[in-house]
């Protein structure tokens, strides 16, 4: 099977429904394993920070969540683009399934960042460019979720949400580069290309957590997309066969 025919078949909801189950299961176990290893490494094995002591450990949840908040938005933007241009039903379903997950990652990033900010910075919240653009990202997610469900016809909802997602995607580089472009209270990125300003003994659990969050998202998005396409194809023969065997 060539890549092109594979992609073509993947675009067909019944085929996707069939193969996504074993993949989703595998992603779930890999994600769970990585997150457990990352938490053990981050909370027990990593040494305390020279300035922040044990307080820095919230990084192991904050950084992966913030990274996922940007990554999921890019997934939605790409899926929206494909859905708008090539009218691929599966892409619309992936975008709709991803939006609540991205909103949740963004909320976790905002809350953990706020709890981290109080002891270290001296405040829960400041309106600097990084924090404000991340908050805008959260509202963009909410907009995509509500717009998607606001129309009688699901296709209209998909289209409206896709346009908002493509416009909103401009916020992703703004969040990422805000700490370089403007003077912010939030510190700059600890990653410069492939090098990091985090000591190796503290860095590896973070990378493991980030990989774990990716697999966790991969599992959830496959699962949510499965129910999403079942709902959307309810009156088709294959879907009825799945629901009532």
């Amino acid at each position: 099977m060539t890549l092109k025919t594979f992609l073509h078949r993947l675009g067909s909801p019944p085929y996707f429904y069939q193969i996504s189950k074993p993949w989703g299961r595998a992603f779930a176990w890999i994600g769970l394993g990585l997150i457990l290893v990352g938490l053990y490494g981050g909370l027990w094995l990593a040494p305390p920070d020279y300035q922040q002591g044990n307080g820095f450990r919230i990084m192991y949840v904050h950084v992966p969540s913030a990274w996922m908040s940007l990554f999921v938005f890019m997934v939605i933007a790409v899926a929206s683009f494909i859905g708008l241009v090539w009218r691929m039903r599966l892409a619309d379903a992936v975008a709709a399934a991803s939006a609540p997950l991205g909103a949740a990652f963004t909320a976790v990033a905002l809350v953990t960042g706020s709890l981290w900010g109080k002891p270290m910075w001296g405040t829960y919240w400041v309106w600097d460019a990084r924090l404000t653009s991340e908050l805008i990202l959260f509202f963009l997610y909410l907009g995509i979720i509500t717009l998607n469900r606001s129309f009688e016809d699901q296709k209209t909802g998909d289209k409206a949400a896709a346009i908002l997602a493509l416009i909103g995607a401009i916020d992703v580089p703004i969040v990422h580069y805000s700490v370089d472009w403007w003077q912010t209270l939030h510190q700059g990125s600890s990653f410069k290309g492939l090098t990091s300003e985090i000591a190796p003994s503290m860095l590896w659990p973070l990378l493991v957590m980030m990989a774990g969050f990716m697999f966790y998202y991969a599992w959830l998005v496959l699962w949510r997309t499965r129910s999403e396409i079942l709902l959307r194809e309810m009156d088709r023969e294959w879907a009825q066969r799945v629901v009532e065997p």
């Binding site: 020279y50 493509l166 403007w182 300003e197």
Partner: protein, 156 residues
Amino acid sequence: MTRRHQRLVMVLLMLACISAAVGFALRAFNGDLLYYITPTQLAEGKAPAHGAFRLGGIVARGSVHRRNGSMTVHFVLTDYHHSVPVVYTGILPDLFRVGQGIVVKGRLTHGVFLASQVLAKHGAKYMPPGIHQPRARPAHLKMLALRRSLREAPGL
């Protein structure tokens, strides 16, 4: 041109227009998006003429003074080119220390910055205690020391 091509062109055009609009807007806002200004920017007259603003810098070595039994603390914020004396009454954040990046909010009165809020910035680096404590050193020396310590730290 097929309908699919038309849609592709429309979506790409939309994206190009929006990117241009946001790009120009960000350029126009550039100065206002600064959360704080540095002592050098203050010396260049970039501070607002009226009202409070935020000033960010490094706490200068040997500049922190506090009278016994008083909540008022005096220190100097510097960016190694210009310095501003600061007065603040209240509780300082945990990370307040010499050589630390600090953002203060307040007003400049007769050359002294009267701060109503003191926030600590922390760096992008994380490391175990005791390897290197590069305090109160110029930023480029800190970076060199850090790179060295990262290379020598036992990896996993």
